[in-house]
Amino acid sequence: MNRREFAAGALLALALRPAAGLATPEDQAAAIRAFTGGVVPREGRVELDIPPLVENGNVVPLKVTVASPMTTADHVTAIALFNEKNPQPQVVTARFGPRAGRAELATHMRLATSQFITAVAAMSDGSFWSTRQEVIVTLAACIES
């Protein structure tokens, strides 16, 4: 991994930053429609464990768990995670089969700013389920470069 360049003249405070434009809640909704093929997911069955308040949006731990027997006849086929205000609405899409045993996914994501995160599960019966959580990203006071 390359070492990050040290830039002189850093400020005590800078807002969290992507230079390019951010996605919008509409972008998130469109990305979810693309994932579900236009079906509106139902509330429930999906649990999204993500801290409500994060000290730094660069690394935000999260875990998605879906209630499913994970049998050949009845299992989760995919879990997708969407954000509202990062540069792009997609976060991760994980594909599952019955051999996963449990419908669980944990990862570390980035959050450009405070926003709602939505987790959507696709089931083998063609149904979609979802949940969402608000995450507040505090502004870092001391950043490098």
């Binding site: 991994m1 070492r3 990050r4 040290f6 002189a8 003249g9 850093a10 400020l11 005590l12 405070a13 801290p51 308040l53 994060v54 000290e55 730094n56 660069n58 690394v59 731990p61 944990a106 570390h108 505090t138 502004l139 870092a140 006071a141 001391c142 950043i143 490098e144 470069s145």
Partner: protein, 241 residues
């Protein structure tokens, strides 16, 4: 006045690890070796530690077996240079003299990895800086540097990390600035970094000039921080925001 009362209530007697003021989730990330990204460097350091290097074709492991506790005793007095030396400096020195290998730069990935691997072996042990009288002048200089106002914002380390630890700078809780987690995975960096890098961060933050990595001033401040945090358990590789 509310804010004055806060100032009084944060005066700390025992050193307090910054980990205690992190969210539950970041504490869990630090504690879980399978999720703590700093462990990637520890693993790399282990491989480097066992690799024969330099004209001497010696590995660190050829001379050093158990390293538990070693990192708690740095910075230490270095006879050869008659000056204090920190752990990364000692690794650099060992590499040059015993392995006769090409130098590793400060903050280079291999040096961070080796320091992380060595320091990891002291995890949970208390910082126990040496009571060496020869260190006293450098220790005093380190404390003076800690208390020296500097930069366009004209702030000293002590004004935030001693006098106002526990208060909030914007949303960020000001930690005591303890040294027990380094090298540490700072989320802001998205990488592992040394205490010197963190010190440099603060200097740049108050819009001051920062000495080059490896400068004596850093070792002096490190010496003071080790003394000030004596007894705190080593957490390296710590995770911090």
């Amino acid at each position: 006045m509310k804010w004055l009362l806060l100032l009084v209530s944060v005066a700390a007697a025992e050193p307090r690890s910054g980990a205690l003021d992190m969210s539950r989730e970041l504490q869990a990330m630090q504690a879980d070796d399978s999720a703590n990204p700093g462990m990637l460097w520890v693993q790399e350091g282990e491989a480097l530690f066992h690799r024969a290097e330099g004209r001497a074709q010696k590995a660190c492991a050829d001379c050093h077996a158990g390293l538990a506790g070693v990192a708690t005793r740095y910075p230490a007095w270095d006879e050869a240079t008659a000056a204090p030396i920190d752990l990364a400096g000692r690794i650099q020195q060992c590499r040059a003299e015993r392995q006769q290998a090409a130098p590793l730069a400060r903050e280079s990935e291999p040096l961070l990895a080796l320091a992380a691997f060595v320091t990891r072996q002291s995890r949970g042990l208390p910082l126990a800086p040496p009571e060496d009288p020869r260190l006293a002048p450098a220790l005093a200089r380190g404390e003076a540097l800690f208390r020296q106002r500097r930069g366009q914002l004209n702030l000293s380390c002590a004004q935030c990390h001693e006098e106002r630890a526990g208060l909030r700078l914007g949303s960020a809780l000001i930690p005591e600035g303890q040294a027990n987690g380094y090298p540490q995975y700072r989320l802001e960096w998205q990488a592992l970094g040394s205490l010197q890098r963190r010190l440099r961060n603060c200097m740049v933050g108050v819009r001051a000039t920062a000495p080059a990595f490896g400068a004596a001033e850093y070792t002096e401040i490190e010496l003071f921080l080790a003394r000030r945090g004596a007894g705190l358990a080593v957490e390296a590789p710590a995770v911090r925001p």
